[in-house]
Symmetry: C2
Subunit: 199 residues, 2 copies
Amino acid sequence: MNAYTPPLARLIEQLQKLPGVGPKTAQRLALYLIKRPEDEVQAFAQALLDAKRQVGLCKTCFHLSAEPICSICRNPSRDRATICVVADPRDVIALEKMREYSGLYHVLGGVISPMDGIGPDQLQIQPLVRRASQAEIQEVILAISPSVEGETTTLYIGQLLRPFVKVTQIAFGLPMGGDLEYADEVTLARALEGRRELL
Amino acid sequence: MNAYTPPLARLIEQLQKLPGVGPKTAQRLALYLIKRPEDEVQAFAQALLDAKRQVGLCKTCFHLSAEPICSICRNPSRDRATICVVADPRDVIALEKMREYSGLYHVLGGVISPMDGIGPDQLQIQPLVRRASQAEIQEVILAISPSVEGETTTLYIGQLLRPFVKVTQIAFGLPMGGDLEYADEVTLARALEGRRELL
C-alpha cells in the first residue's frame, strides 16, 4: 500500500530491495532522486547497467574485473611467486589499501558452510590448487576471517596445498590499539598461542 | 582512491551521492547489485529513469503525480470543500495512510525560511490563495510541522486566507502514548494552551 503515483511507487519498491534499506529510507532516496537533474539520474542508471554488464570475474584470481584478466594479475611489477587467498573481493580491496602486499590474490567467493549449502565445489578451490601447483609459486598465504566456517576453509585448503607448496596463515591476536582487558577469550588464546620471541 | 574495476568504481561513486550513504554502504550496495540477475538490475535502472521522467507535480495541488492532475484531485468521491495545506509530498502520504481525511490537499513545496533563501514566492502560496478563493472551498486546514519556519509559514498563510475562507490549524500537544514527564516544555505549553472541555 503506497499512495505515491505509480512510477514513483515502483522506484520506492526497487530501492526497498536493497540490503539495509527499509520503506522510510526507500521513500527518502526516491524523493531525493527525482529531484536531481535528469542527466545525473541518467548517469546513475547507466552506471548501474554498466557495472552489471561489464563486471565479471578475473579468469585467473576470480577478483571482480571488467577485463578477462584483472589489473592486479596483469601488473608486471607484482611478485608472481606469492598468492594471498581471501574469501571475498572486498578483502582484496582491504588488503590493497594497506599498500604493503605486492603479490597476487585468489578470491574463493565465500567460505565452506554446509549449513548454507556451500561446499568446496561451490568455491574457487580447484582453480587455486591448479595455480598453486605451478613451479613459480613459492608461498600461499591464507587470509580468511577466523569464523568457524573461515577456519574450516583454511584447514581444508591447507591440507590440499601443503604437499606441494609453502602455506602460511595471517596472524590473529589482539588488534593494534586494542585493550587486553576487553579482548574476548578466543582472541586472547590466539594471541598467546601466536606469541613470538622479542628481538 | 578505489581499487575496484572502473565500472564498479563508478557505480560506487554514484551510490555514494545518495543521502545517508557512505563509502562502506555504497560498496556493499554495489556488490549486492552486480550479483543480482540482469533483468532485476535493468528493472531498477528503468524504474529510476521512469520515475525521473514521468513524475511531475499536480497542476492543482502540487502533489507528486505522473498525470497533469493527481489521483486525489481527480477522485470524484473526495470532499471538494476542504483543502489541507502541507509542506511536503511526504506529508500527503502520511495523512492518506490515516484514512480519516477525505478532502483535498495543497502541497507548498517547503516552508518559509529566509536563512535558506526560501520566501513566499518560492512556495506554492499564490496558487493556494487562488484555489482557496473559489466559492466551493469552505475550510483550509493548515497542517505544517510546528518548527519556527513552519509556524511562520502557518501565520503568513493564515493572514492571507482568513479574509475570505475559514482557516484552521491541526492540534499540537502531547503525542498519544507520550509521557508527560518526558515531554519538552514547548509541547507541554502547546498542550495546555490547546486544552478542551471534557465532554
